[in-house]
């Protein structure tokens, strides 16, 4: 409960900090770059995100999906209808131009996540650095979040599992989704399994708050759109080449 209260307080804290910042140094932006120590808590200094260039994504390739499953110990049980899916390949065809889009879709790590809004227990939460996760210790498996997610990003575990990987606990009766390879981020690695696996370099991982990061530079140069942008969820995952 302590942590859930903290989460609520953090919102008020950020609001007041914004006002203080305005009065002390108008027009001056302080940028400190320093990697998180292992025993340090994550802060809102970072906002982790992904940029996906759909023009570089191969139609038949599922390397990112396989790498994700390998990384997080997701194994086939009863087939695609009920198995967990942290990333899936989506193919869309534009009605007028007949342009075919290929892209991987995973949890979009929204700044305003609907899954967090609807969760009755507080299990669905957003970390200070923008990663949306499920605290499976308090998840009751009601699946409200699965209904609320506009990206169909979450999966429910129906079967008893065994041999879960140490960094990726998963279990029957709880909901799960892409963690943005949070265990790697906490180790200080600047990549995810899917990003690393993409043979075409279609995915870029990085800190959206750091103007010098590769992802921010690419976004500044070519832009990047949110899926279902009208919902104004301010997603951490952005796409290029989806406007045709």
């Amino acid at each position: 409960m302590k942590y859930i209260d903290q989460y609520r307080r953090r919102f008020l804290g950020t609001a007041s900090a914004a006002f203080t910042g305005l009065s002390i140094a108008p027009g001056i932006l302080l940028q400190t770059v320093h990697a998180k120590a292992v025993d340090e808590a994550v802060t809102s200094q970072y906002r982790w995100g992904l940029l996906i260039d759909t023009n570089l994504c191969d139609p038949g390739c599922t390397d990112c999906v396989e790498a994700c499953h390998q990384e997080n110990g997701i194994r086939e049980i009863h087939g695609p209808e009920t198995d967990a899916q942290w990333i899936r390949k989506v193919t869309l065809k534009h009605k007028k131009t007949e342009h075919i889009l290929n892209m991987p879709v995973m949890c979009q790590h929204c700044a305003e996540p609907p899954c967090v809004d609807v969760c009755p227990t507080g299990a669905s939460f957003k970390r200070a650095d923008g990663i949306v996760l499920v605290d499976k210790h308090i998840c009751i498996g009601c699946r409200y979040c699965m209904m609320a997610c506009p990206y169909k990003a979450r999966s429910f575990i129906h079967e008893k599992l065994s041999d879960q990987l140490p960094h990726a606990p998963r279990g029957k009766g709880t909901v799960e989704a892409c963690t943005l390879c949070v265990h790697r981020i906490d180790r200080g690695e600047n990549t995810t399994a899917c990003t690393q696996a993409c043979p075409n370099g279609a995915m870029t991982f990085g800190d959206l708050k750091d103007p010098q990061s590769q992802i921010s530079k690419k976004l500044a140069e070519h832009g990047g759109r949110e899926l279902r942008a009208k919902l104004k969820l301010d997603t951490g995952v952005r796409y290029q080449g989806i406007s045709s």
Binding site: G73, D163, G171
Partner: protein, 132 residues
């Protein structure tokens, strides 16, 4: 009839006596598998009383704050206390020879940690061919 039960006890006691002592048993006959490391993060008396509080505290720190230090981490407990036997196999979470279950079964306190957490070290999972 009394003689028959005496004979029965004579037969039963030596049969099970070996199970109540031995290298993996403590003075009360509970199974305590040999750990890999030299010393635990706290003395045994503290761990017996406080392990659940240490784990709960660490659980929230890891989950919400991304603090993945080794002390009081369940993964470290598993790495040290779940060790392979002569055949290279480890006890599984439901077995009474499994480190946590050896006490929890005796105390009749059920735990559901291993519904979600793996019950053996990463090396063992890799050796089983389930993971590259």
């Amino acid at each position: 009839m009394r003689f028959a039960s005496f004979l029965f006890l004579l037969w039963v006691i030596p049969l099970h006596a070996g199970e109540l002592t031995g290298p993996d048993r403590d003075a009360n006959g509970n199974i305590v598998p040999t750990p890999k490391g030299e010393a635990c993060v706290e003395p045994a008396e503290v761990m017996r009383r406080e392990h659940m509080n240490l784990l709960l505290h660490k659980r929230d720190q890891t989950m919400y704050d991304g603090i993945r230090t080794k002390r009081a981490s369940l993964n470290e407990c598993i790495d040290c206390h779940v060790t392979p036997d002569a055949n290279g196999k480890t006890a599984r979470a439901d077995d009474e020879t499994f480190f946590c279950s050896s006490c929890h079964i005796a105390a009749s306190v059920s735990i559901d940690c291993f519904d979600c957490h793996g019950d053996r070290p990463l090396d063992m999972i890799k050796n089983s061919g389930l993971q590259k």
